[in-house]
Amino acid sequence: MTTPEQLALIHAEIDGELDAGQRAELARSLLADPELRHVRDELRRVCTALDALGDVEPPGTLQASILAALPHTPVRGTRWAMGWRYAACLAGVAVAAAVIFTTMRGVRPAPTELTGTLAPAAAATLVDSATVSGQGVSGSASLYRDASGFSLELAVAADAALDVRVAGEGYTLAVNNLKNQGGRPIRVLLPGLEPGSGRIDLTFLSSGRPVGSASLRAGEK
């Protein structure tokens, strides 16, 4: 029976990352276990074949089409310079807005006059929810929407840390290394998910293997 530790040693050997002690340990295991030798030979052949695959020549027109699509007036300046430019613009707009507001509104009202005029922030509304089912994972997934967009609430219990792949039509998002919350909900924003995106599929992965799934609907187009 090949153990995970033995497999890790084989992979490290393939990567040339074994020290002398590990090499000796692997050699002992290989000597004692023909099945392990077989596994090692196959993995080495796979990796040798992968490394030996040659490159494909990119299309001859690729470079020209990229350069042709470049704008002729480049965007200059660093992120910081751009940031300062935006900040200066925003400050100008804010000052102008304050002057206009004060001019039109006249004297500022007493604070008590404002009571009752400040609406609470719009609460997120539940769009859809579904049960998460699979091996080693259970719980629920709920899709919420508020003024800032969609968010996903996951309340799952799992045997190990999970990755979650969110996929819809023209939309993908990966949530990596989701720790076991024991069923306590966590909220994940789904930036860019548009209303009417249709079906959203969630795939729960453990060590890269699918262990559970759920589907939600973000509304029809």
């Binding site: 497999l7 890790a8 992979h11 990567d15 196959e42 993995l43 052949r45 796979v46 990796c47 074949a49 992968l50 490394d51 030996a52 695959l53 490159d55 494909v56 020549e57 990119p58 299309p59 690729l62 470079q63 089409s65 990229i66 350069l67 699509a69 470049l70 007036t73 480049p74 965007v75 200059r76 300046g77 660093t78 992120r79 310079a81 751009m82 990755d163 792949r165 996929a167 039509e169 023209g170 939309y171 993908t172 990966a174 990596n176 290394n177 992965l205 060590s207 890269g208 293997r209 699918p210």
Partner: protein, 174 residues
């Protein structure tokens, strides 16, 4: 230097960057997507996005890690928006371009690997592509996929074993 010249509007410098990186980026996209036309689109989008956001590039990091990250994300986006493909047939095109026996064996192995590669999760495929086709270090891969190096290793190990299983199933590893 080349990057800052391109950012400053030097089209020759941009052309030099394309010339330097188009091959690995096109090949990474091709291994991820298995469709030359899609790979070409991803390569083009990668460069245009990179040039558009050169102001966000931090020169204290490696440029290739930065642009490969864009290429991988674009490939994953393309996969996400793609309709499910028919399963690849290892025997397809087997009669095309007959050559010396050794070359044919190499092509068969290449097709078998492509089929096995397309059979694993895109996130795992990403790691195989970065490690075995782009020959990056684990540290570089960890930077590109934003995962700890240890996690990258354990997932790549899983990916290799899944590839081995796939090749055994196809009868390629006997």
């Amino acid at each position: 230097m080349l990057v800052s010249r391109c950012h400053g509007g030097d089209r020759a410098a941009c052309g030099e960057l394309v010339s330097r990186y188009q091959r690995p980026i096109f090949n990474a996209a091709l291994r991820m997507l298995h469709q030359p036309e899609d790979a070409r689109d991803v390569a083009q989008t990668t460069f245009l996005k990179a040039f558009e956001h050169l102001g966000d590039y931090n020169p204290s990091f490696k440029f290739y890690s930065w642009i490969y990250r864009i290429a991988i994300n674009e490939s994953l986006n393309a996969l996400g928006s793609r309709r499910p493909l028919a399963p690849l047939d290892a025997d397809e095109q087997a009669d095309e371009a007959p050559g010396p026996e050794q070359r044919l064996e190499g092509e068969q192995m290449s097709r078998a690997i492509d089929k096995a590669l397309m059979g694993i999760e895109p996130e795992l495929r990403t790691l195989v592509v970065l490690r075995h086709f782009m020959h990056l270090s684990y540290q570089d891969i960890a930077d590109i996929v934003s995962l700890p190096e240890k996690t990258v290793k354990s997932r790549l190990y899983s990916a290799r074993q899944l590839l081995r299983d796939g090749l055994v199933q196809q009868g390629t590893l006997l």
